[in-house]
């Protein structure tokens, strides 16, 4: 990797090489991840439902998603006449940007993240909420009542669930005494999930809601809103929303792993740095698997119940948890 970096640095400069390798690597991996996660989702749902799932294309259907992508690529891209054209076409692209920015912030291994920031966690919290703008753009510009309802639900939901996510992340900040994701990981000798089980749970619920996953998938509640915000999208544009959902799941899962499960840390990760990303991804995928498991087990909440759950339960509990953390830390300093 460093040899490749050196070669590129001589050609296009140090900054250019880092950008190319980092952005290229992240994009490449996230694309692979989407293919893998869609396959995994189908397998998890199938086994939850006593089925086999895709079995025909490739070993255990591993290439099924690629076949599906080819099918979606070959489909006609329908743009309904009454849409707000620019917004309609831009939304599926925009939905990726914050997620990819997020991915570059997560510390991958002993070395560092692709983009290091002293206030990384603050940026993470901000970016994770921005995706909703693209969803609302998609819903609003579709000029479809179901889509508008889906978009509005999404905004209300993300605004509500961002707060518990932030509050539970703050509990970690109190312990780590830093907003730098790298330092949070390196200070994490015991996974913070053990110190902060409540915060970890709230964070998990919050990111499930932020990624619009069941039981919080009301913006695209199939049985109510047909397709929700993406009702009017067809072909690859429709697929892009799925791409974004699965990318978001992994990235937020990795953020969760960074905050609560020790990030890239693991046995021998210090000696062999390449193990860092492996541990991080493993932990991220565990979180993703839990999200899938929940999706195929629970019914969907109603919109007002979802709001009540966030405002009346999660936020007060997160606040109390934060307060307790602060008091305990004053009484028994960790360092």
């Amino acid at each position: 990797m460093s040899a490749l970096h050196g070669l590129l640095a001589r050609l296009i400069g140090d900054f250019g090489a880092t950008l190319l390798l980092g952005a290229g690597g992240i994009l490449l991996y996230l694309t692979f991840n989407v293919l893998f996660l869609i396959w995994l989702e189908r397998k998890v749902s199938a086994h939850a439902q006593r089925r086999l799932g895709p079995m025909e294309v490739g070993p255990h259907g591993a290439l099924q998603t690629i076949a599906d992508m080819l099918k979606l690529l070959s489909k006609q891209l329908v743009t309904p006449l009454a849409t707000d054209r620019f917004t309609f076409l831009f939304a599926p692209i925009l939905i990726f940007i914050p997620t990819i920015c997020l991915a570059s912030l997560v510390p991958l291994g002993g070395a560092s993240a692709f983009a290091e920031m002293p206030n990384g966690l603050a940026v993470v919290v901000v970016l994770s909420g921005i995706t909703v703008i693209a969803i609302f753009m998609a819903g609003w510009s579709s000029n479809n009542k179901y889509a508008v309802l889906g978009g509005m639900r999404s905004v209300a939901q993300v605004v509500a669930y961002e707060i518990p996510v932030l509050l539970s992340a703050l509990a970690v900040v109190l312990i780590a005494q830093t907003l730098d994701l790298n330092e949070i990981v390196s200070g994490q000798h015991v996974p913070y999930a053990l110190y902060e089980p409540v915060a970890a749970l709230i964070f998990f619920i919050g990111i499930t809601a932020e990624t619009n996953r069941a039981p919080f998938d009301i913006p695209e509640a199939e049985s109510e809103l047909v397709g929700g915000f993406h009702t009017e999208y067809a072909g690859m544009r429709f697929a892009l929303f799925f791409f974004a959902e699965y990318t978001n799941m992994l990235v937020l899962g990795c953020v969760g792993a960074t905050l609560f499960l020790g990030g890239w840390k693991g046995p021998f990760a210090d000696r062999w740095p390449f193990l860092g990303p492996v541990y991080l991804l493993l932990k991220g995928y565990v979180v993703v698997f839990l999200m899938m498991w929940a999706r195929w087990t629970f019914p969907r909440l109603r919109f007002d119940q979802l709001m009540n759950f966030a405002w009346k339960l999660l936020i007060p509990v997160a606040l109390v948890n934060l307060l307790v953390t602060a008091i305990v830390l004053q009484a028994v300093p960790l360092r």
């Binding site: 439902q49 019914p299 919109f303």
Partner: protein, 375 residues
Amino acid sequence: MTNPPVPDALDTYVLNMGPQHPSTHGVLRMKLTLRGEEIVAAEPVIGYSHRAHEKMAENRTYAQFLPNTSRQDYLSGIIYNFAWVEAVEKMAGIQVPERALVARVVLAELNRVASHLLWIGAFLLDLGAATPFLYAWDDREAILFLLESVTGSRLTYCTGRFGGLSRDLDADFPRRAREVIAKLRARWDEYEGLIEDNVIFVNRAKGVGVLSRDLCLSYGVTGPSLRGSGVAYDVRKAEPYGAYPRFAFDVPTRTEGDVFARYMVRVLEMRQSVRIIEQALDQLPAGPILNPDSIGVKKRLKLPAGTQYYAVESARGHYGILLVSEGGTEPYRAKFRTPSYPNLAVLADVMPGHMVADAVAVLGSVDLVMPEVDR
């Protein structure tokens, strides 16, 4: 059905739910007037799958109409099939062998369980839980195999004949049926924990879509939807027909009248149906399955002139057939009183005040079959 009052305020809009919508179970269109996500008025628009069964009955012999019967309600078709057969038998005075009477009860109750299982799956799918759907269909599949082995079809059964059944239950049938029942019972215990104790499900279902007792009675709501509102009306008990008086079973009721009550009534009803099947299998008499004196389907049956009403309890409620004969080979008029029609009509009164998500839950909870509403 009167048009609901439409508020002329500018803050409402109309959302057409259906006829192509994942949760309208076929081709129902709900015209919802919404304020934000709250329903102000709801108007069911029907007729998208009208096939003129009643008119067709006037132009066919009694036997030729047999295949139509199970196509009215494709989920509990055998009950509708037997209802037509029994209505004609009663009017013509055809004797039915004991074995056929009991076998009809077995098949009809199996079909009722299959219908309720499908409902549970589809209803939970409406609430956003995809997994129970496949479990319920897996259970239903076992029943469909049983029914297929007797009738030769999986959905639109046409096994009733005037004077019995077209085919006999084979010697192995009771054993296989008991195996299926044992499997179902074990599954139901599992579902109770997974569904009825699930906080999300209970919150979505309790206190939602309350049908009061009086409202049900004024609209003529029947079946599990009525029993969920505290009225123990079941045609099998109220006006016993066929071999039902011989079997001991309860009519489960709940008083709340909400979505959860309707769910519970159906779940308990499946257990009662299974109880009936077991008793019927125990006392299944030997003998012919078809009255040897009855005429076959190819001959034309003539009914004496007169009017007669015959009702059965279908999986959805009170299903009645009004037969008017002028003495010919075809009915002068056949009117079908299908339970889903009033069960749907009552929803216009219940929906206002609920959220869109509740509309789906309420709509699902009354177990509509649209071809049966439209006929």
